[in-house]
Symmetry: C2
Subunit: 172 residues, 2 copies
């Protein structure tokens, strides 16, 4: 079985915790966060990146991000999963992944939160989470994940903040 | 002292070792390698990335890459150093860096070779080199390197193959 291509996508800019009156899980993207997420989604499409499934955290800011990716056409399907909530565990997600990949060969995009996504990346590529990978909001990580022993044996091929992905003139 | 921004830049596509009649250190960029390196250099400029000094391996394919970056205006100065040759050691380069940063605050771009640049990155961010970071030709790594104990304590904020940096339409 070949390595699976997995993208981690951190949700876009959301209303700050301090000023939002509802629960943390309901915080939505700001207008700027929505706009930038649309820009990034269109850029992924332009780059020819093909995704089979978007898996998203159920929190509103992540789900809105995932829905924008779906709407723009980055992937044909979206699934919401607690595995990507801030309380999710890498081991449980890898367990889900080991089943999913048995019937799918395309790439997966996981939309979630920090510090989980950068810690998971460190665990996948070097076996320990040191907090030494910086993943900005609407930033992306690209990994090649082997079928057996993915922890400490995966490959990192991409890590980008949104500002280096958009055209210079497209930055706001 | 704040973290120093360091970019690693792998030389562009060069004439293959098997078909080049001179010594390995003299292998030049191909026409395609030159073209793509120019595209990436202009993109870095467009993104507003400011570099104080380009430090380059003395091998022809790296020096040509660095000269393109200089010509396009990514940085005002270029220095050639054996520290970035394939035989260079991370410890010796870090020793040079510790002196350089005492008199400079800007970012440094180091143009060199694989597997050195990706191994050095792994040593800087997770303390060991496992070969789990993929750096393509004309690809870029961005690091924040602390003044003390940089090994295993640096931050990775960027890793990109050239194809994800150029416009979709600019890819050849």
């Amino acid at each position: 079985m070949t390595d699976l291509t997995v993208f981690f996508f951190r949700h876009g800019i959301a209303v700050e915790r301090e000023v939002f009156e509802g629960s943390d899980s309901d915080r939505p993207l700001t207008a700027k966060g929505e706009k930038k997420t649309y820009q990034i989604a269109r850029r992924l499409l332009d780059l020819g990146i093909e995704i089979e499934l978007i898996l998203s955290s159920p929190l509103v800011r992540a789900r809105q991000t995932a829905e924008i990716l779906l709407e723009v056409g980055v992937a044909p399907d979206l699934m919401i999963s607690d595995l990507l909530a801030p309380s999710g565990s890498l081991q449980e997600w890898l367990h889900w992944l080991s089943h999913w990949r048995q019937e799918h060969e395309g790439a997966l995009m996981a939309v979630g939160h920090e510090p989980n996504l950068s810690h998971w990346t460190e665990l996948l590529i070097c076996g320990k989470a040191l907090g030494h990978i910086q993943l900005k909001k609407a930033g992306i990580i690209g990994l090649k994940v082997p079928a057996t022993d993915p922890l400490g044996n995966s490959q990192l091929f991409w890590l980008t903040p949104p500002k280096f992905l958009l055209n210079g003139s497209g930055l706001t």
